[in-house]
Symmetry: C2
Subunit: 331 residues, 2 copies
Amino acid sequence: MARSVVVDAMGGDDAPRAIIQGALRARSDGVPVRLVGRTKDLAPWLPRDGAPEVVHADDVVDMAEPPVAAVRRSQRSSLRIAMREVAQGRGDAVVSCGNTGAVLVAAVVELGTLAQVDRPALATVLPRADGGRLVLLDAGANVDVRPEVLATFAQLGTAYAEALGVDAPRVGLLSNGTEDTKGSALVREALPMVASCGVHFVGQVEPTTAIEGACDVLVTDGFTGNIFLKSAEGAVQTMTRLLRVEIMRSMWGRVGALLLRRALTRLRAQVEWDAHGGAVLLGTRSTVVVGHGRANPEAVRHAIHLAHDTATTGLVERIERRVAHGAAAKG
Amino acid sequence: MARSVVVDAMGGDDAPRAIIQGALRARSDGVPVRLVGRTKDLAPWLPRDGAPEVVHADDVVDMAEPPVAAVRRSQRSSLRIAMREVAQGRGDAVVSCGNTGAVLVAAVVELGTLAQVDRPALATVLPRADGGRLVLLDAGANVDVRPEVLATFAQLGTAYAEALGVDAPRVGLLSNGTEDTKGSALVREALPMVASCGVHFVGQVEPTTAIEGACDVLVTDGFTGNIFLKSAEGAVQTMTRLLRVEIMRSMWGRVGALLLRRALTRLRAQVEWDAHGGAVLLGTRSTVVVGHGRANPEAVRHAIHLAHDTATTGLVERIERRVAHGAAAKG
């Protein structure tokens, strides 16, 4: 049975336009969607006939406020109502392109976390140089964490990689080297905890070797994870720009680029975030996907597919089993 | 007058061969070099006639030991003797491709730090998308730091950027966002300290915008700085590999790549570490350049040029003035 996805139509830089257009595309692909937002704001972007169901929400989370305060204050916000729809069984997964911190807080308040999960983690899947996929968590939701939280993240990431079809996922702890003398104080304290939490732990892993394929799950705090992601993104963008400059320098370069156009397009699809569509919140009682704030309709469409597919794999149940297994491993 | 560079010939994965070959190339370019190492290990790689001067050192720093202990124990190591040569006025700058932590410790012990500099920082210069250069520090030497150390790094980086010819360098603090609610606890504590240390501070800067050109100096702890560097490096490597795969998929792609060969070579030179050659230790009483452990002869040659050019710009004196200016700014 197809799972239904509840979409916060008001979150994101280009909301509700980009969100609705993306939702309509996902629905054309066969994913049942429901939209949450101010009815009058949504109306101009909806088709006259056969529009998806809209759940009205008076309020929008104010992005100028700190996330916790903003979410607490706005009980009737589209974000909280979208979560509540799923909590009450009127949907299987939530998608929001709003502020990551606000989505995290709303998910904890409205959906709740699984037993033994203190803080949900934001996970994203990246292409590896060896053709495999790398689950990175936390990607930016939990900026300062205690070392024991990284062990929980290792369990959450393992369950997610298994749901993606990876057998006995290798878990690495993101670090600046692999020797015993390397690692921040946080990494060094977390090492024995991750090693004993019931996952297939391969130790400290550097960004370069992680991207090459040294592990399937890369665990880190949200600050470092976000720096990792944005550094890689920045390097790819710079390389693309410099390549364009070099190509334009000569006629033969321009001819070569024409012949390479298809290759370059495929390459871009592999390394750009909007082809991947979003990050998944792990550890909440239902599936939540956080889309990019700058999401365009195609990115929204992908985020909705990601939410649908994730709910279909039974990720929440896998995580529950994995966390229980980890607790048993520890004693 | 040309400054002379003292080279630790025993540090690096491919020492002494790669180090000596690089040093010979730098000497052909006109840089006076002296080598430090075990005479009998160096002899096979030296030319019969007109070999550079060799300062004998019995010992080599043991890489298996933690850096502090290893450096303390080996008083007669090539690394410490190279530093001592400069400390005693028999050279202007040191180059080593040994373990970064060991080079840092040896520099502090043998050369000493400047007044008001607790810990020297490792700085590296990266190409920006806008054609400018980005001074990143710390690149991996000081893994866990207190917030006030980041203010000192801001001063050291400003002096270095000025020595590179940047007028009133803009200083950013590496972070996961620019809003007040962003940043790790370390970043948030450091913000007011960096703002009041007498540099041109532009606030929190994300990796993507830093690479695009939002600042000239990017300040961070050595753990995060190292993750930043290696993530960018990994992304560039992956993109290069994926591009190769896409090119090889079709005949037109291969023809296009042939036409683009020059452009791709120039691009590689701009983004690969060995074209840049090394990182500079800032805050010690003489110039120290740390080459990459995997340095090949060409990278060693660049590191020696970097040491020579840096000593020529009077960086140490600039840093002294800048740190004094910062102390005055604070009151």
